[in-house]
Amino acid sequence: MTTELLAPPERNYLSAGYTARSWLLTVDHKRIAILYMVSITLFFFVGGAAAVLFRLELMTPEGDLVISETYNKLFTLHGIVMIFLFLIPAVPAVLGNFLVPLMIGARDLAFPRINLLSWYLFMLGGALVMWSTFVGGVDTGWTFYTPYSSTYANTNVMLAALGAFVTGFSSILTGLNFIVTVHTMRAPGLRWFRLPLFIWAHYATSLIMILGTPVVAAAIFLVALERGLGIGIFDPKLGGDPLLFQHLFWFYSHPAVYIMVLPSMGVVSEIIACFSRKRIFGYRFVAMSSMAIAVIGFFVWGHHMFVSGQSVYAGLVFSFLSMLVAIPSAIKVFNWTATMHKGHVWLSTPMLYALGFIGLFTMGGLTGLFLATVAVDVHVHDTYFVVAHFHYIMVGGSVMGYLGGLHFWWPKITGRMYPEWWGRFSAVLVFFGFNLTFFPQFVVGYLGMPRRYHTYPEEFQIYNVMSTAGASILGVAYLIPLIYFIWSLKYGPRATANPWDARGLEWEAASPPITQNFETTPIVTTDAYPYAEDEQRTEETLLV
């Protein structure tokens, strides 16, 4: 294929304007997606830098690089930045923003100006968190537990909490926009059960965003009232219950894990179908499992409080409900696997990330069952076992999905191909580095190493050295795509409208799409993923 001779469309959303103003005041969902992409990439490397520092500290049992207070501030910074400023917006605000209107054949999201407002709120929240760091940092952990956060912490809790509060509104506005868009702006013929699974996943995610986020906003609001004005809702001196804060906090913050991982599951469904050349197995089950995860996810928060003084009966009920989430999650994993069965599987870069997602998410999910079991949780609570578990979900799951999606839709977003060999190399390196970082933490956590301490007994050193070595590999593996993605913007071969021969309305738009997305509104006549079962994929039709 003579890729070099392909010219990009003369007018596309990227060539619509080159001034700073044309970017900062844009209401085009695709440009806002780019704004988000640049922002969260910056925050990702800020959060990553904090992780590098404390992983270096943990190389040795003694506290020799930073003092305990600095260590506490580092892991707090890492948590707040990675969760509120990277993982929550990563897939929805970048890929979702770009693709939701394209996939449903719309010209934009329902509320373009609110979409831009959400980016400004996100940046304001991010600026507040950065400000809190530059004036001395926060040491409460990303969870802001009371009464430490409300009464005793002498660090910049208010600034950081306000930052989290403001980014919450940005997240609510994104979710609101997606729900209204999917309800009101689908192309003619695009019935609900013809929607790509990416859309279903984002719809489910949006439900959590709009129903969960306000609750953590209220919890943070009450902490701010207590810290700032002495209106003591959680103050034990008045009889206030710190456990109440934990209830309100986890009511959002557990479902927030599904905000992070559901959109990545949507990405994986798209990639698996495309690179297996098959319609996804059990489409309706996969679609409904997203909804089930969103709904059940609201009733499991108590498993964070098994040892916080919650009643035993509440603990048992939450234990049972937490295990229920495993069912829709397993439905997804089995159906992706069944989709690949007898498919024409091509191990492209996005596919490698998707496969990595399945493996790591399965590990994270199964260890979640350990933690949902009250008796086991009493043993491993607040140990590195928990740290390893949620990193398997949030990094092994969410970040793998984000990177896979970024590679899959990079030609659509930029009109350029990334270098495939480097892509595969870094995908494998991410998988290897990730496991070396976090698998030892399962072991050391089970052996009893608590989280959030900067010193530890000498017998745990070998696991921590492995972890730090893995983190270094992981860091390099994340830098490689950053470099070749930027390189590809100028030197990458031009992409066709549909370089993967994939199905879906977004591939009918030009690469990069025009500002209005489609020349004429598409009309949908088939179900999602109409890949012919007997289709013979030839390497020549695909850009390698």
Partner: protein, 244 residues
């Protein structure tokens, strides 16, 4: 007036539907936001019923009742405004909206009087909080049992068993009641202020004749918001003032 249809919508009906749904979803987030505070209220009321009754007795039911009537009246004005706008009477809609705004300001004024009263009686949570158990509300006057919370405001004070008289403990629990009172009514008042500004903008547009049968979306969605803020008060009033 198809001129009001933004470029990404097909027609006015789709745009109206989207705006309306958007406001309903926003209100769902508001329900969850206030719902967290109602959950906190429920938990503490269950834990400390006596203190909540004592705290509630110091609130002025007459003021609360007047405010409830004022807000319900404002919602009626808003409903009339939506009806007027939808039947091509944009100026009449402006008049009704001004009526609703006046009612909203009256509500905030009465609320301010109540707050001032709480300040005067040191019922505002914080260092100066005081609560005289026997002299409040319907109980007989007996000031001897008063103890300022300052004296007991030592770290972890309440957990040091044996050092707190029942009255001192009750005073702290009542402070918790007032913390919730101010958090909930303060947040509600903030929503009222936003609502007044919102209705003001819409009223101005309505006066200029911007709305008609084919386009009255802003009146409709800001009306939805106003009704929601009204309904929050309809729940706050019995919980704080009436259940004793």
């Amino acid at each position: 007036m198809t001129g009001h249809v933004a470029h990404h919508f097909d027609d006015a009906e789709q745009q109206f539907h989207a705006a309306n749904l958007g406001m309903w979803i926003f209100l769902a987030t508001e329900v969850m936001f206030f719902g967290s505070l109602f959950a906190a209220y429920t938990a503490y009321r269950y834990m400390f019923p006596e203190a909540f009754v004592a705290g509630s007795h110091s609130l002025d039911v007459v003021m609360g009742t007047i405010n409830t009537a004022v807000l319900l009246l404002s919602s009626l004005f808003v409903a009339l405004a939506v009806n007027a706008a939808a039947t091509n009477r944009s100026r009449a809609a402006a008049g009704f909206l001004v009526g609703a705004i006046v009612m909203g300001v009256v509500f905030l004024g009465i609320k301010a009087v109540e707050y001032a009263d709480k300040f005067a009686h040191n019922h505002v949570p914080g260092a100066h909080f005081q609560f005289h158990r026997e002299s409040e509300g319907e109980h007989a006057v007996d000031g001897e049992h008063h103890v300022s919370v300052n004296e007991s405001a030592i770290p972890g004070g309440d957990f040091q068993a044996g050092h707190n008289s029942p009255d001192r403990t009750l005073e702290k629990r009542v402070e918790l009641f007032f913390s919730l009172y101010f958090a909930m009514t303060g947040l509600h008042a903030l929503h009222m202020v936003i609502g007044v500004v919102l209705l003001g903008i819409v009223a101005y547009q309505a006066w200029r004749g911007a709305y008609s049968q084919t386009y009255f979306t802003p009146v409709e969605v800001s009306g939805l918001y106003w009704h929601f803020v009204d309904i929050v008060w309809v729940f706050l009033f019995p919980l704080l003032y009436l259940i004793r």
